[in-house]
């Protein structure tokens, strides 16, 4: 193996206002390796890589690339030095063609004009050499997600990237596309290129990387050679303790075993399902069918966990149940109530609670106070002919803030000013701290600190024990394993399998999640 150091980042610090994104983060990447940068959501991986690619200037620490001190450089410098980054959210201009997107900023020109013929030829040649097939004349808006990602990689390679950073590249890819991507990355490495792969999926790390750096809470906490490590070691480093969630055998099974017994007990008593879905078909934003003919039910006192790679229809499923997205066909029932003709508010009144996946976009009105956020979706219960009932809103706020330990305990404070964990507690307090029969919980602990995670998990378990039906969606497999009674794996808009949680572990679910088993 080559011993030349391509990237050396030392004690990087990066702050956003009062929020520390990186602190004492150090990274060393050898030339000609695939280096995985792993950690949970919010561990600071993306920030660290944006610092490396010149998008952010670090607040402390030094960066060396190929032995040269480049601390504080700009995107243009990074591109010139052969550092290219493929972002998690594509940086593509939809109205332009593939070739235009690729050459943007470095257009081959003849005289004053762009030499479009040469641009197209160059892109075509490049795409053939690295096996990233895509039509240079196609408009980006018309591409599939996989193709769009190829364009992103082409953009970096077109600029002569020798160090390629990919931020969660597989989040939106199908398994064959992932395999193709690995081939491309290996070919790059074998050509002397360096790849840094940001991910939080252990199977990918094991699959493709040579070396691993683990991040936690904004710091780099471990560095290991992939050949000498096990998924459990990586997971331990990621979480910072022996993984008591579900990857580890004993506590998880005890909980789920107990669940199963209790559930069997409950289902004999329950006459009807809390939530049932029959033959549901839903279209996505691009107009394609993203959920096809899906049927399932959730019993009272049961957590049905949906595992799966993001983008396989989970988001659309919850939106359809909540009334935020039109359904093509199918029936959704909460106990005896058909949701057919009900809008969002009526569904909520029928007993549906919903913790949405994105609290910044949907779950909270960030400029509203904590008190006002605590009635969102129930505002009609806090108003009378004479307007909003301030006294009841304030009483509700004090009660919820105390019960769910929202900090700081200032009902007048705008939700925007709170930490992620406390913001999520507002959502949880509002949705769980009221009368309901079914809870939809999407990514309930995303971007939340460890203390808050445990608190939120306890709330969900308590709701289940109180006989509520819970549909849980999480990209965090350990979370699904820890909380669920049954686990459904969603792939391509269907449940490829539904199993009792007690029979599941991460390794056996993996193939289902990637569509390899069905």
């Amino acid at each position: 193996m080559s011993t030349t150091v391509a990237v050396r980042m030392t004690n990087i610090a990066k702050l956003f206002g009062a929020v520390v994104a990186n602190r004492d983060a150090s990274l060393e990447v050898a030339q000609g390796e695939i280096h995985a940068l792993v950690g949970e959501n919010g561990a600071g991986k993306s920030t660290l890589m944006r610092v490396l690619s010149g998008m952010y200037a670090p607040d402390g620490g030094t960066i060396e690339v190929n032995g040269r001190d480049v601390t504080g450089w700009k995107t243009t410098d990074a591109i010139a030095a052969g550092v290219g980054m493929v972002h998690q959210h594509f940086m593509l201009v939809n109205t332009l063609t593939v070739a235009e997107n690729v050459v943007l900023g470095q257009e081959p020109s003849s005289g004053m004009t762009i030499d479009m013929a040469r641009s197209i030829a160059n892109v075509r040649a490049l795409s053939a050499t690295c096996g990233l097939l895509v039509d240079p004349n196609a408009r980006v808006a018309d591409l599939s997600v996989g193709e769009a990602q190829r364009v992103e990689i082409l953009k970096a390679l077109y600029r002569g990237a020798k160090i390629l950073i990919l931020d969660e590249p597989t989040a939106v890819l199908s398994p064959p596309e992932v395999r193709e991507l690995w081939q491309v990355l290996r070919a790059l490495r074998d050509d002397g290129g360096t790849v840094i792969l940001i991910t939080h999926k252990l199977d990918e790390v094991i699959d493709v990387s040579d070396t691993i750096t683990v991040m936690r809470g904004g710091r780099t906490v471990a560095r290991m050679a992939t050949a000498d490590t096990t998924p459990r070691d990586i997971a331990k480093a990621m979480v910072g303790r022996e993984v008591a969630l579900a990857l580890d055998a004993s506590p998880g099974i005890q909980v789920t075993g107990e669940n199963r017994a209790r559930r069997a007990d409950a289902s004999s008593k329950a006459l009807r399902d809390a939530l049932s879905v029959r033959g549901l078909t839903v279209r996505g934003d691009r107009g394609t069918v993203v959920i096809s003919d899906l049927s399932f039910s959730v019993a009272p006192g049961e957590v049905l966990g949906i595992a799966g790679v993001e983008g396989n229809g989970q988001t659309e499923l919850l939106e359809a149940i909540a009334g935020l997205r039109k359904t093509e066909h199918g029936l959704i029932m909460l106990e005896d109530t058909s949701f057919d003709l009900l809008d969002v508010r009526e569904r909520a009144d029928a007993g549906l609670s919903h913790v949405p996946e994105d609290r910044h976009r949907r779950g909270l009105v960030l400029d509203y106070s904590i008190a006002d956020n605590l009635i969102l979706g129930r505002q009609h219960h806090f108003s009378s002919r004479r307007g909003l009932d301030r006294a009841r809103i304030d009483a509700n706020a004090s009660a919820q803030i105390a019960a769910f330990d929202i900090r700081p305990p200032m009902p007048e404070l705008a939700a925007r000013a709170l930490s992620g964990g406390n913001q999520q507690k507002i959502v949880i307090a509002r949705e769980i701290g009221r009368e309901f029969r079914v809870l939809l919980a999407a990514q309930p602990t995303r971007g939340v600190d460890v203390g808050a995670i445990e608190f939120i998990h306890a709330q969900i378990r308590a709701a289940r024990d109180a006989g509520k039906g819970i549909l849980l969606v999480s990209a965090d497999l350990p979370e699904v394993l820890a909380l669920s009674d049954r686990i459904a794996v969603m792939y391509g808009g269907r449940f490829v399998t539904v199993l009792p949680a007690a029979e599941c572990d991460a390794e056996m679910l993996g193939p289902f999640m990637t569509g390899a088993a069905a």
Binding site: A18, H354, V365, L376, G377, L388, R407, M410, E412, L413
Partner: protein
């Protein structure tokens, strides 16, 4: 115990923050405008102090001038409220000018057709309803296009201004006007009394009791925005439409009704001229008051009570322009109006950014404190 300690960190104090966010930007803007005003006055070879004294004397300094300020502020309150209510729902109603004109026209035409024997109060109420409905109807067009097709209400309202004003021009010029004039025949019943009828000091000024209607409108808007469920939903739509939708709000319906409400408020302003001042609709009476409503709303920070103050400010500038016209062109105050708008528009995002950062760090501190105890 947590929960018990409420930190007293100054910048985290929501009241203090609200105060700063409301007044900081307008004050900065006025200071900038004053400086630029001084410079312009100097180019004309006059002493700023003299000009500003004259401006004061011609407005707040005598009952007639003050009456004119109140009269102008009445229309501006309505158009300012129109822009602000739309703004709170994230809409830009740049069409207040034509909604105002249409409101005045409807009131004038109805007043003209009502028999002279109609009881005055009834006629006034009917004309008021007609003005509001007419304004709402004009605004319903961009409302529908935005709610149904997502068409930019900015462009539609601007384009509609020209369409409606041309239509009114045609109606008045070709159909109903007093010969040799560009106004409609006078109303027979429903006129609103001048202030000077009860307070002789206002003699000669156009100020009339429509003023009370405008103030009432501002109070109702305050109540509606901050004390009712509809207002809660309206503001949620303006701040974060996705969150509002999640919260069970029918977003496109709110967009449509808010646009109509906004148009109704602008139309209400037409009362002031038609019923309170001239007693007839006259071509071009709006005279930019619709556009000035944007300035009023901006400086009033989209708050109905702030708008009352801002309307007085811009009415003073407008009337003051006439007062100083002997020394410097009255357009000085038009320039200052534009400068105030630009200064507020540029200062607001900056002030908000600073305040947000201050509140966030204070909240972090408070969180730590409450966790430590």
């Amino acid at each position: 115990m947590s929960g018990a300690s409420v930190p007293s960190a100054g910048s985290a104090n929501p009241l203090m923050q609200r105060f700063l966010s409301a007044f900081l930007a307008p004050i900065v803007a006025l200071a900038i405008a004053a400086v630029i005003g001084d410079l312009l006055i100097l180019t004309f070879g006059e002493a700023p102090a003299t000009v500003f004294r004259l401006l004061y004397e011609g407005t707040w300094g005598n009952p007639y001038g003050f009456g004119q300020v109140l009269y102008k502020a009445t229309t501006l309150t309505c158009t300012g409220l129109a822009f602000a209510m739309a703004g709170r729902a994230g809409l830009f109603n740049v069409g207040a000018e034509s909604q105002l004109a249409m409101g005045g026209f409807a009131a004038g035409v109805l007043g003209m057709f009502l028999p002279a024997s109609t009881p005055g109060v009834l006629a006034t109420v009917l004309c008021l309803a007609a003005a509001m409905c007419a304004g709402a109807t004009v605004a319903a067009v961009p409302g529908v296009l935005r709610a149904k097709f997502g068409a930019s209400e900015v462009i539609v309202t601007i384009m509609l201004n020209f369409v409606v004003l041309a239509l009114l021009n045609w109606l008045v010029a070709a159909k109903i006007h007093v010969p040799e004039t560009l106004h409609t025949p006078p109303i027979l019943s429903g006129g609103v009394a001048r202030l000077s009828a009860s307070l002789p000091a206002f003699h000669g000024s156009a100020a009339n009791w429509t003023l009370l209607i405008a103030i009432a409108a501002a109070l109702v808007c305050t109540w509606y925005l901050f004390r009712t469920r509809s207002g809660y939903e309206l503001r949620a739509v303006g701040l974060q439409p996705d969150a509002a939708e999640y919260g069970g709000v029918r977003v496109s319906r709110v967009l449509f009704t808010t646009m109509c409400l906004s148009g109704a408020l602008a139309g209400l302003g037409g009362m002031n001229f038609v019923l309170g001042y001239k007693g007839y609709y006259e071509e071009g009476f709006a005279g930019g008051a619709g556009f000035l409503g944007i300035a009023v709303a901006l400086v009033g920070r989209n708050h109905p009570l702030g708008i009352l103050l801002a309307a007085l400010l811009f009415a003073t500038l407008s009337q003051g322009g006439l007062a100083v016209n002997a020394l410097v062109p009255k357009q000085l105050t038009d320039i200052l109006t534009a400068v105030v708008i630009l200064a507020v528009a540029t200062a607001v995002p900056e002030v908000q950014k600073q305040l947000r950062a201050a509140v966030a760090s204070a909240a972090t501190l408070a969180t730590r404190k409450s966790s430590a105890t």
